[in-house]
């Protein structure tokens, strides 16, 4: 039933302590943490963008912890990533068709479908007009660029997609569109999705299960409803309590512990 397990550690920089988690087939897993919690590093480890210094990473039951680039190649198509910043994740010198093209190259061919048809279909799946294929990234709006990032990830018809803080800089209305799109695509394409965010509200909206990270460790891993209704650790409770809700609550501001951030430590 499951798609991958992962254990990773990086004692040199202490970015990630030994961590275990499983992403099941067809589930949307949220990975949440504040800055410096190691969530991005975990994400990249899941995609084998770096070689973990310890533990084991397996995809669909196959161990890929120490595989070389050649051995990894057949897996690359099956696990993809959507990046946070469309500015730095889309090559400014490539047209949209080139950016999506490399992904489409890897995808299994649909018989009878030409490249331009595949391109148009992929763009349509994320709500973009095929006329945008000839544009450069700087000719598109921020929301459109983010959609191109999503299109690139799904172009290879992956089984697993990692989304790293992809709605963080977006307006709330654009964010709502992107989240709705993501949920829809996950359902249509039977994707397993790992969604990294610092925003618990977004996680509650989108995810089935959630993993809370802090300082390179996993603090709690529960189904979404359980975590939000009955958090088990003090840290999670503190995180939840710190979120301002759009319903005015006169006691909210004064409630809660003193911020430990007051210690004069260098910025993370």
């Amino acid at each position: 039933m499951n798609a991958r397990k992962s254990f990773g550690s990086r004692p040199r920089a202490r970015i990630l302590h030994p961590v275990s988690l499983t992403v099941r087939r067809g589930e949307i897993l949220g990975i949440v943490g504040e800055s410096g919690s190691g969530k991005s590093s975990l994400g990249r480890a899941l995609l084998r963008l770096h070689e973990p210094t310890g533990g084991r990473l397996s995809f669909d039951g196959i161990d890929i912890t120490h595989s070389g680039e050649a051995a990894l190649r057949p897996f690359r198509r099956r696990m993809q990533m959507i990046f946070q910043d469309p500015q730095s994740s889309l090559n400014p010198r490539h047209r949209i068709r080139t950016i999506l093209g490399s992904g489409l190259d890897l995808a299994p061919q649909t018989p009878g479908e030409s490249r331009s048809e595949a391109l148009a279909r992929t763009l349509a799946a994320v709500g973009l007009d095929s006329a945008l294929a000839d544009r450069f990234p700087h000719e598109l709006s921020g929301g459109q660029r983010q959609r191109v990032g999503i299109a690139r990830a799904i172009a290879t018809r992956p089984e697993f997609v990692l989304a790293d803080e992809i709605v963080s800089g977006l307006d709330v209305s654009t964010q709502a569109q992107v989240l709705a799109l993501l949920k829809q695509l996950a359902r249509e394409l039977s994707l397993s999705l790992a969604f990294i965010s610092h925003d618990l509200s977004v996680i509650r909206t989108l995810c089935d299960r959630v993993v809370v990270m802090r300082a390179g460790r996993i603090v709690e891993a529960r189904p979404v409803a359980d975590l939000f209704d009955a958090p088990r650790t003090a840290y999670t409770r503190q995180l939840l309590d710190a979120i301002p809700s759009p319903v005015p609550d006169p006691g909210w501001l004064e409630r809660g512990p003193i911020d430990r951030d007051l210690a004069a430590t260098p910025a993370g």
Partner: protein, 306 residues
């Protein structure tokens, strides 16, 4: 299953958000004309280049032809000028204008070949050391450090003195020293590019490292290289002039701007034009190369600065 596009109105729900930018006029190659620096400097250099190529057709006299009866004639607009010698003659009666035109040949040959060669070597090494790091980077960086410790002009004089004079030696001297300029800049640009998320994205597609270097990194490093090339051409012209000034460039028959300046220096009070015209042309050419480089940079930058 295909028609899952979101309705346009919902997509454009915040219409005052940044709209898709309309296609600019003068896109593509014609964009060159948007930048006045490129037009004027480029035009000037083009004229010089054509004059150099067609020197035999353009120059009014043989640059080597001496006529001691007609020596140190002033330029055409002065009182004692002779017709036919627009910029005057030097102490051996040779036509200044023709010598300038033929001198352009040496200047441009050196400028183009030396700049391209230094650029090629420097860019290649910069890309490799910036992208692959490790021992390649360690070796190249140490090489650059050592190399740049030598005073450049002195080194080039030394080189030419050892190898012998001639255009090839001059070019070699420039390349051997200036490749480091390209290498350092390209290396730092490559390091930055290597951190970009689209490089990560290419990795997630299983693209090999060599292909990533070529397809993802190089196109973004190229604008810097182009600017450096035009700057380097200006520098090469100056170095050649310095070398020919001290007589270490091509053989003394061939006219060079630096050589003319050296000769003109001797007779500056009797015939100022022999010194001044090559000096002015040299300055204008270097200025033009710099402005061209600046203009090219302005053209390519806006693509990134959105």
């Amino acid at each position: 299953m295909v028609e899952r596009a979101l309705p346009e109105a919902a997509v454009m729900a915040t219409p005052l958000a940044e709209p898709a930018i309309a296609r600019r006029r003068f896109a593509g190659l014609l964009a060159v004309f948007r930048e006045p620096r490129v037009v004027f400097a480029g035009g000037f250099l083009l004229v010089l280049l054509l004059a150099a190529i067609f020197a035999p057709l353009v120059a009014p006299h043989d640059p080597l032809e001496q006529d001691l009866m007609l020596n140190t004639l002033p330029p055409a607009w002065s009182a004692d000028a002779e017709p036919g010698y627009v910029l005057g003659t030097d102490s051996l009666g040779r036509d200044v204008l023709s010598r300038l035109i033929y001198g352009t040949r040496v200047a441009f040959t050196v400028a183009i070949v030396a700049a391209l060669a230094a650029g090629l070597i420097g860019t290649l090494l910069g890309l490799l050391s910036g992208y692959f790091g490790g021992w390649v980077d360690a070796v190249v960086s140490r090489l650059i450090d050592i190399w740049m410790a030598f005073p450049p002009v002195l080194l080039s004089i030394l080189l030419v003195a050892v190898i012998g004079t001639g255009v090839t030696s001059v070019i070699l001297a420039i390349v051997v020293i200036d490749w480091t300029r390209f290498c350092r800049v390209v290396r730092s640009e490559t390091l930055q590019q290597a951190k970009m998320e689209y490089v990560d994205a290419a990795v997630t597609l299983g693209t090999g490292r060599g292909k990533i270097l070529l397809k993802e990194v190089l196109p973004n490093v190229l604008p810097v290289v182009v600017v450096l090339l035009s700057l380097e051409m200006g520098i090469a012209v100056i170095v050649e002039a310095v070398l020919s000034f001290v007589g270490l460039s091509v053989s003394s028959d061939t006219p060079t701007w630096g050589g003319m300046i050296a000769e003109g220096r001797q007779i500056i009070y009797q015939a100022w034009w022999v010194l001044v015209f090559p000096l002015v042309l040299l300055t204008a050419t270097v200025l033009a190369f710099n402005q061209l480089g600046d203009g090219v940079r302005r053209l390519t930058d806006p693509v990134l600065r959105r």
